[in-house]
């Protein structure tokens, strides 16, 4: 199966080409510029301690964004990840407190809920062929609704054991926040998956043309299912990290995270129409947004400015990318 698929998909994404990394270079320049500016304007910005905090604060969004990169590469979208994070977090909290399960088992419940939510999205998108925007807009409300109903909007699960709290608040030897290795592992996994496997090529091919991919012998439904299930699984994992970082799980956990994650993906140069994009681009997008928010706070600027500048950044970066692309084509 893998052989014809690889062969068939090869011509579609072709090489993004040597000149195809312009966007990533642009983003990198942006990240460097942000770093330089905030090192000058912020207090204690340019320190290992702060680098750790920026990384720590980026893990949940990062996990979601990595999985969303694969989803968006197929030309799809998953709006339900923030809500699914909330649902997974409260069910995990409930397994731990109400059912008295050990924390490792409760964490598996969280991840399991994520996978389950992903399976539901996958079934609707891949098997029934409902447009992903509609499916995940539905599950966006559904998952959050279940989480709110389950807790009555009131119950807040706390009293997590020190082992879990260490994952969210502790530091490994060398000062690395304990949850960062999870993000690194996920980044490596998704990078290999998207850029180094026939599955990744299939995913891009679907993004360029689902019909073409099908005729080329790519198991479209199976590939689509995979990316939505992975997206759910990452939401579940992000829920565990969220609960560990804040020491609480409430129904409102992760609200709005789907949009932050999509911002990182799109800023990272992944085309919202699918086909084009990269995992390392997403990581750069993530870093650019995280540095902006952190740096503004450390230079005593109000938080609203972060929203404005993120918007400017997104529109500016995508616009610049378009301009460069037009010119190089001309």
């Amino acid at each position: 199966m893998a052989a014809p698929e690889a062969a068939a998909a090869a011509p579609a994404p072709a090489r993004t080409g040597r000149g195809g990394h312009t966007h990533e270079w642009l983003l990198l320049a942006l990240v460097v510029a942000e770093t330089a500016y905030f090192a000058y304007a912020g207090s204690n910005f340019f320190t290992t301690g702060n680098a750790g905090e920026v990384a720590r604060a980026s893990v949940e969004i990062g996990l979601l964004a990595l999985a969303l990169t694969a989803v968006i590469l197929t030309g799809g979208i998953d709006l339900s990840v923030g809500s699914l994070l909330g649902l997974a977090a409260v069910l995990m909290g409930s397994a731990h407190r109400d059912l008295q399960w050990p924390i490792a088992a409760a964490a598996l419940v969280g991840i399991g809920v994520g996978v389950g939510g992903g399976v539901l999205n996958a079934a609707l998108v891949a098997r029934l062929g409902v447009p992903p925007l509609i499916v995940t807009l539905g599950t966006y409300s559904l998952f959050r609704g279940i989480a709110e109903g389950f807790t009555g909007g009131i119950r807040n699960y706390t009293d997590f054991p020190p082992a879990l709290l260490f994952l969210g608040q502790g530091r490994l030897p060398g000062g690395v926040p304990a949850q960062v290795p999870l993000l690194v592992a996920a980044a490596v996994f998704f990078w290999l998956l998207v850029h180094r496997t026939p599955i990744g090529r299939g995913v891009r091919a679907i993004g360029f043309s689902p019909e073409g991919a099908r005729f080329a012998g790519i198991p479209v439904a199976r590939r689509l299912s995979l990316v939505y299930v992975l997206s759910g699984a990452m939401a579940g994992l992000a829920a565990v990290v969220y609960a560990a970082r804040l020491g609480q799980a409430k129904a409102d956990a992760g609200s709005g995270y789907e949009l932050f994650a999509i911002t990182a993906v799109v800023l990272g140069g992944t085309s919202i129409f699918g086909g084009r994009g990269s995992v390392h681009g997403t990581l750069l997008g993530l870093v650019a947004v995280a540095l902006l928010q952190n740096g503004l706070r450390l230079s005593d600027q109000p938080a609203e400015l972060a929203g404005i500048l993120t918007g400017v950044l997104l529109i500016g970066a995508i616009g610049a990318n378009r301009l460069v692309a037009e010119r190089s084509r001309a």
Partner: protein, 333 residues
């Protein structure tokens, strides 16, 4: 593909900020002269907190304090933590927080204390070991007692009422509700609390919840709205329902309440002076940073508020105040 590696490598490097072992905050050297006080509301857009900020700034200007003011623009427990984390990294002398969610914020506040930053909670408290001092706007007993006095008067000592609260997890409101229940049992056997609905600090939500309440519980004759945006929301719902037999009382801001007090839907609004609360908080933060806070009666010189008593880790602003149709025009916040 090697270039990709370079891109990634540089990105990681840039993200790691090269860090020549700055290693976090430390107390943060006081800015020229006065200490740096970082103050956080639950929600920056709420006029209640806007007026607290005004009072805080007034005290900061008098005392030579550099005041930072930041917080969530929407109710999000994770946001408060992120802002506190940033302040710890930035290095400030005092962090003063109105706590949205006790459990979530206490971990970061403890971390701030471990780094030598003084921590004040104001308006809503964190866990005891997570802060140095709590600046209390009024005791819960005092608030519950004044609110129940108004409710009992409106009901003629007998009947049903309902509460519109902030969110069902809001620590302050839950403390008041607990005291209301205790005093109901002890002093008001004929008053019945039939329902408690959340407004999430949102006027529109309070409006919707009140409309529903009036339909579900027609026997309710008094709505007690105990979050400042909930007062005009509840009053508007009662006005639109045309039910002249229902009155609203509660805890809110005078400006937003004025029109409803004037047309009689809203009977009374209980509150403390929010500008004084902000003023007192910054005074306490300043005294903590300079080491001039003393225990006991008159242990704090609170500027235009006069001396205030310091009772362990607890400082109270004063007794609640009732705004009515007659006196509300004298206030503007």
């Amino acid at each position: 593909m090697r270039r990709l590696g370079v891109v990634l490598g540089l990105a990681v490097l840039a993200a790691a900020c090269g860090g020549s072992g700055g290693g976090g905050a430390g107390g943060g050297a006081p800015a020229k002269g006065g200490p740096t006080v970082a103050m956080m509301p639950k929600n920056k857009g709420n006029p209640y907190f806007v007026s607290c900020h005004k009072g805080g700034q007034e005290a900061a200007d008098q005392l030579g304090v550099k005041l930072l003011w930041d917080g969530p623009t929407e109710t999000d427990p994770a946001k408060q933590n992120e802002v506190v984390e940033a302040w710890i990294t930035r290095g400030v002398d005092v962090i003063a927080v109105s706590v949205e969610n006790k459990e979530a914020i206490s971990t970061v506040l403890r971390k701030a204390r471990a780094k030598g930053i003084k921590v004040v909670t104001w308006d809503a408290d964190a866990e005891k070991d997570a802060r140095d001092v709590f600046v209390d706007q009024a005791t819960p007993q005092g608030i519950a007692s004044v609110l129940l006095d108004h409710t009992s008067r409106l009901l003629g000592g007998k009947g049903s009422f309902a509460i519109i609260t902030a969110s069902l997890t809001a620590a302050n409101q839950n403390e008041w509700i607990k005291n209301i229940r205790e005093q109901l049992a002890a002093k008001y056997p004929d008053l019945k609390l039939v329902d408690i609905r959340p407004s999430d600090d949102d006027r529109k939500r309070a409006f919707d919840e009140t409309q529903t309440l009036l339909k579900v519980h027609p026997e309710v004759k008094v709505i007690m709205a105990i979050a400042s945006p909930a007062v005009p929301g509840a009053a508007e719902a009662v006005r639109q329902s045309g039910r002249t037999d229902v009155k609203v009382t509660g805890l809110g801001l005078p400006n937003a309440s004025k029109p409803y007090l004037k047309d009689g839907v809203l009977d009374s609004v209980v509150l403390w002076n929010t500008m004084d609360l902000g003023y007192l908080t910054v005074s306490v933060a300043n005294a903590l940073a300079r080491g001039t806070l003393k225990q006991g009666k008159g242990g704090l010189d609170a500027g235009r508020l006069g001396p205030k008593d310091v009772d362990g880790d607890h400082i109270v602003l004063g007794t609640p105040f009732t705004f009515t149709k007659e006196n509300v025009d004298g206030f503007d916040f």
